[in-house]
Symmetry: none
DNA sequence: AATGAATGAGACTTCATTCAT
DNA sequence: TATGAATGAAGTCTCATTCAT
């Protein structure tokens, strides 16, 4: 019964990643010990090492899992009937960030910030982050193009550059939310509407 | 070597911080060992511990030093004759980020990203980051107010919210520059000009 | 090696304490390093720290173990058919001291002397010593009371004071035995018989 | 002027020993660092090392100084017109112990207890302690002899053995006073009078 | 003679990983 | 397959002592 076993295997891995995520949210990647993950997961050391080869692999899985929550956003961006303006897309993105931050299982945006730091010295995490974030930027490129077609945005500027700036607004929201705590989708929406063309 | 001046003391601390910064840029805060810092600083273990009482204190000093490079930006923001528009202020900020990133001593923006992660589990670093970043945001508040007075920005939106969004664009630039590498002041300027009112 | 019994756990702790005792007998508490204890115990550093969470805890266990050898004396004091006189009790005590001092595992009286010094700056060791020694003194109180009933000892003197003096003879024997080396149960018995009433 | 210089030298040494004693009373020999002694003495590191070759030498001087306070007792033991009985000699000794313990400069009996422990692994301290203590015992031998001459004490017992027991009562008083705290010259006198012949 | 910053060996402890059961 | 005790390299920090000034 390979299917059941494979499912079981994935369930166990998810269990370990969830345990690790809880630890990382509290203590970051480096202060989280394997003993922490093992305790939190309810498994034994040997069992955990049966599913992951090393701490680095678990760290990678936690980071990938956290960065992967972006995917859920793509559907929303595409689900609207009328094409999204850059402003609307950013509002949706900010709202999505807060939603996943408040989802059960802990605030994954904290894991994302840890992953940013880790990406600077861990190629595999950097590649994952790069991949996920470029996908999001690509969606913003599409939106920028449509805005250029509509005349809202200067068509002479490469849409990629517009997408860079759009994407570039999200980490700043995450950071202010976690470190300062005085931003919300509402304040950001107001600020965006004041600053951005439409 | 008795009777060492306060100046000498500060120079030694700076020497240690610079050594630590070099290590953190390569390996992050946690993979940087005291042995690394000691070796890089050219001092002995005892000497280093004569200037800082723990690794945590050194980490704090490195983070504070890196986050403190923002201060140099304030002069630039205030040095212009005619009031800065939000767009011009952001362009100046992005340019400043790249300048300090390329300054000798290593790319401090890498340290800043480490500090973001650390701020989530280290109150003293979070307080420093919060303080520095709120100062920058306050400058942006002034700029937003002037733009509202000029009629460029909707005067009914709290200037603080506008400043949040302005400030919020900077981390995203830093992150894309370090993790993806395809952004520059030029691309960002183009994107900003396409997106922002003026 | 999972599923280790509580018995095994206690045996390991005893093994570590025995190793530590051997070191302390040679070098005292402070000159004994964890590396010494680890080497002597035949375990690894990690294993030792699995059973004790710090050197201080091991020191405490060694001290408590050494001071606990008094307990064996109580049975002897109570095992005699006819009530013990103060003189006989002291003779038995002195003899017991020499017996345990010569027991395999090393001279615990050396550990006791270390514990006296440590008790002056370590509350937990002081409490242990106080507890054990007060128990012995309480036995001496009983013996003093019987002697008062017999008419050997002035019944108007609080038995506690008599017990203080009785107990107070033991450390001096231990000290002379270790530091000067010219005392023995025989010389002490002769001295006691010459000085004490009976 | 060698005399003044020598006096100065001795004064400085005494100053360092007094500083060290204060530290040892609080923390014991091993937890007392040279930095502690240096700070407490008000001198510089170099100066302290100008008067003592090593920490071990300072420790030795502190121990010798503390054990030397016994000497003051000898005069008292010899100053009485009528020969002292063993009982009276012990009472005087106990009283002396409390007096020196309460003298300004800190409780030297605490230093003595530290010295006992140190004597077990430091030959030079053991020799000092042995010397001082044997001197006291010798005085007790004289007293025992006189008591034997008076008929108070069995003349067939070697006076040395009687002195061992007499001397042996003192450490126990010191220890109970420091560790338990419920003994005093008064309680001990009562206990001694109840137990000892006269 | 005095100063006190500097030295660096060595102390205590942690923790990712393994492997006998 | 699962367990968790054991491993030991490596990390942080201390402190007796020296020596340039």
């Amino acid at each position: 019964m390979p299917k059941v076993t494979e499912e079981h295997r994935l369930a166990r891995r998810a269990q370990i990643v969830a345990a690790g995520r809880a630890c990382v949210i509290e203590q970051g990647f480096h202060k989280t010990t394997m003993a922490d993950v093992i305790r939190e997961s309810g498994l034994s050391a040997g069992a955990v090492y049966g599913y992951f080869k090393s701490k680095e692999e678990i760290v990678g899985a936690i980071a990938e899992d956290a960065l992967g929550t972006i995917h859920q956003l793509f559907d929303k961006l595409l689900a609207t009937e009328e094409p999204l303006t850059p402003l609307a897309a950013l509002e949706a993105t900010i709202e999505h960030v807060v939603e996943i931050a408040q989802a059960p299982g802990g605030d994954v945006t904290r894991v994302a910030v840890q992953a940013w730091a880790e990406a600077l010295r861990n190629d595999s995490i950097r590649d994952v982050a790069r991949g996920k974030y470029c996908q999001l930027r690509d969606h913003f490129v599409d939106i920028a193009r449509r805005a250029q077609a509509d005349g809202t945005v200067d068509p002479d500027v490469p849409a990629e550059y517009v997408a860079q700036v759009m994407f570039g607004m999200v980490p700043g929201f995450v950071l202010q939310r976690l470190m300062i705590g005085d931003v919300s989708p509402a304040t950001y929406r107001a600020g965006l509407r004041a600053l951005l063309r439409d």
